[in-house]
């Protein structure tokens, strides 16, 4: 379904109104921009793309309804980067059961995969937080020589997964977690979590925190004048916005990166053109997240293109499984292995003078043995 002589219908559901709406604009814009570009270039094998975006409010029941709508009413051919672990887990089975491809959902990839019953129609491009965290943490422990590690995490699947990685990383070094402290989305104050870390005397805080909380934790550490400690944020906290909003308070912060952030000064001509085009389209500054989702969409378009005129679900699945991709946001070329992106390139970086600078090599967690 979803493919007619003149049109391919794609859909997604994002949190346009709920607690995660904050992070949605670059995601939506990145996806939309790639779709628009494809249409401007005459479509894919002559078929125009129609992209339907729905609001899931980060709520699973609501997500189930919009996915129903996308599948049954809009009859989409594929879902492109739907957002949220909860919504993803709740809807992926429905999606694949209806024969609809789910490409690069943004959320806990392992959980979504499990919920899908390991369906071949699901392609996950988002790194597994546990494996990358474990790899990044192992490198950091070796490099910084940290003795006691604490963990601040967001309650939810994201925090759980990073936590799993933290424990694995520590176990590999024969260490155990010295302290952990959770928080809820919407908490305004992280002093008690940091105080807990301090009371336990840790010298490395790992944060399963998104932008806002990463900044808050770093700022709290700075405020206390607590010098003997490093802060390492797992993937989503290591973003461009952390710098632009956090400013001085995030100086010195470590982060595990899952994609390349290229400072404006170092951008090549292709990236510059992309940035200008983005600015023009959306009247706002592009950021790394927008580029990541633009790249995901590109990978998908590449698959569509390569499948050829005779587009079927099975055909596309086959093409994607055999495809490889390197975008401006990828560290290195990646492909799909068992429908999951491989290798899961990651890198430990640090904020220096308001920029993420590489500290480690590019790591393949599957092979990392530090």
């Amino acid at each position: 379904a979803g493919v007619s002589s003149g049109e391919i219908v794609l859909g997604t559901h994002l949190d346009l109104s709920g607690p995660a709406a904050i992070t949605m604009p670059p995601i939506r814009n990145g996806l939309q921009m790639r779709v628009d570009e494809a249409n401007e270039a005459g479509g894919i094998h002559g078929r125009k793309l129609r992209f339907v975006i729905e609001d899931n409010g980060s709520q699973p029941p609501q997500a189930v309804r919009v996915v129903d709508k996308l599948i049954r009413r809009d009859e989409v051919f594929a879902l492109l980067c739907p957002f949220g672990s909860g919504p993803g887990v709740a809807t992926v089975k429905k999606t694949v059961d209806a024969g609809v491809i789910c490409f690069a959902p943004y959320g806990a990839a392992a959980l979504i995969r499990k919920a899908s019953g390991d369906s071949p129609l699901l392609f996950t491009a988002n790194l597994h937080y546990d494996t990358t965290t474990a790899a990044g943490l192992k490198w950091t422990l070796a490099k910084l020589g940290s003795k006691k590690v604490g963990f601040i995490y967001q309650e939810g699947p994201f925090g759980d997964l990073v936590g799993k990685g933290v424990k694995e990383g520590l176990a590999a070094k024969g260490m155990a977690l010295a302290a952990e402290a959770g928080y809820k989305v919407g908490d305004i104050d992280f002093s008690s979590q940091v105080a807990r870390m301090r009371a336990a005397g840790v010298d490395l805080i790992v944060g399963a925190t998104t932008t806002r909380e990463t900044i808050a934790v770093a700022a709290e550490v700075k405020k206390l004048g607590w010098s003997g400690v490093n802060v390492l944020t797992a993937s989503p906290g290591r973003a461009g916005t952390t710098l632009s909003i956090g400013k001085a308070s995030v100086e010195g912060l470590y982060g595990i990166g899952g994609w390349r952030i290229t400072p404006a000064s170092a951008q090549g001509p292709a990236l510059k053109r992309w940035s200008d085009s983005y600015r023009k389209r959306f009247n706002m500054e592009p950021d790394d997240v927008a580029l990541v989702f633009y790249d995901y969409a590109s990978w998908f378009m590449q698959g569509l293109q390569a499948t050829g005129k005779d587009l079927t679900t099975a055909g596309l699945v086959k093409t994607l499984q055999a495809s490889s991709f390197k975008g401006e946001s990828s560290y290195e070329t990646q492909r799909f292995k068992d429908n999951h992106v491989d290798p899961e390139w990651c890198r430990v970086e640090q904020v220096v003078d308001g920029q993420w600078l590489p500290r480690s090599e590019i790591i393949d967690p599957a092979k990392s043995s530090l």
Binding site: S17, P19, A21, I22, T23, M24, P25, E155, A179, E180, A181, G182, Y183, K184, V185, G186, D187, I188, D189, S191, S192, Q193, A195, R196, R198, A199, T211, R212, I215, A216, K223, L224, G225, T241, I245, G246, K247, A248, S249, M284
Partner: protein, 298 residues
């Protein structure tokens, strides 16, 4: 035993101070709620959203328009007061006399509109702006507190004192309490009830704006700022609805409980402890810790 050696003592002081300064935020938000409730017996669920909107407005004036903080502060406070005045005069007034819950529903709707509207106008992403106190901290008795937190404590104290005097000592304040108890009788006494209600909402809006402006630099200008309303609600009920000192007490208690349970209890208790305490307290003090006298004569 040495359980209170100097290190743990200074940690204790640090937690206490931090608890008080977080609690002061809750108290300040709760105060705004109490005030609106006192006059119109409407629990304003849009209060947190006014607070959130104010922080966006402050960001706009300071970071975008480049006004100085000291100019933006009164401006935003004034605008928020105006907004709330209009809300009362144009919207809330239409359901006077309807069951109390109609007001709650209406403000929930208004809250959604404000949140949706803010996100439509400004976009949903978070941002920040500088204040004169950003990045400064003070050492007090071995504990370190951000200056901004001290300012918030001072603001909470100041607002409380003003409100207390206003409500208890001035004729207008007594009239506010009177109209909430019996609006009809208040009209019959010649009180300009409508204007008074709008005024109270305006003051409450001003307090929300003050909270928003002071809070945003700590937790960023963000759509989820309204969440603080939930904690304030808990504070309000813990202290006793409709009581100014109750709101302060409740807010501080919740702040302290969070801090101490965050460090001294196993992980996971911090977030639910305030609510567990709340339920326990209400079972023994059904009207909150310093709730109003009750009982209707039959």
């Amino acid at each position: 035993m040495g359980a209170f050696d100097s290190a743990s003592l200074s940690q204790f002081v640090q937690l206490g101070l931090q608890g008080i300064s977080t609690g002061a935020i809750y108290s300040l938000v709760a105060l705004g709620l109490v005030l609106g409730y006192k006059a119109t017996e409407v629990l304003n669920f849009a209060h947190g959203d006014v607070l959130m909107l104010s922080s966006f407005a402050a960001w706009y004036f300071i970071a975008e328009a480049g006004l100085s903080f000291w100019f933006a502060l009164p401006l935003v406070v004034l605008l928020a007061a105006l907004l709330c005045w209009l809300l009362e005069a144009r919207v809330m007034r239409a359901i006077v006399g309807q069951p109390q819950f109609a007001g709650v529903m209406l403000t929930i709707g208004i809250g959604f509109m404000i949140r949706g509207g803010t996100s439509m106008v400004f976009g949903p992403d978070s941002r920040s702006y500088p204040t004169p106190w950003t990045g400064h901290a003070t050492t007090l008795g071995g504990a370190i507190v951000a200056d901004l937190n001290l300012v918030i404590i001072a603001a909470a104290l100041g607002v409380t004192a003003l409100l207390f005097v206003f409500l208890q000592r001035t004729a207008l304040g007594v009239a506010i309490q009177a109209s909430s108890q019996n609006q009809l009788a208040s009209y019959l006494c010649g009180v300009r009830v409508k204007r008074l209600n709008s005024l109270v909402w305006a003051i409450s809006g001003a307090i929300a704006a003050l909270c928003g402006i002071l809070l945003a630099p700590i937790s960023l200008v963000d759509l989820s700022l309204w969440f603080v309303m939930l904690k304030a609600l808990a504070a309000l009920v813990l202290g006793g609805f409709g009581s100014v000192p109750g709101a302060i007490l409740g807010g501080l208690l919740i702040g302290l409980i969070e801090q101490f349970s965050g460090v001294y209890l196993p992980d996971g208790f911090k977030d639910v402890m305030p609510y567990l305490v709340l339920i326990a307290v209400l079972v023994f003090f059904p009207r909150g810790l310093i709730g109003e006298a009750h009982g209707r004569r039959v």
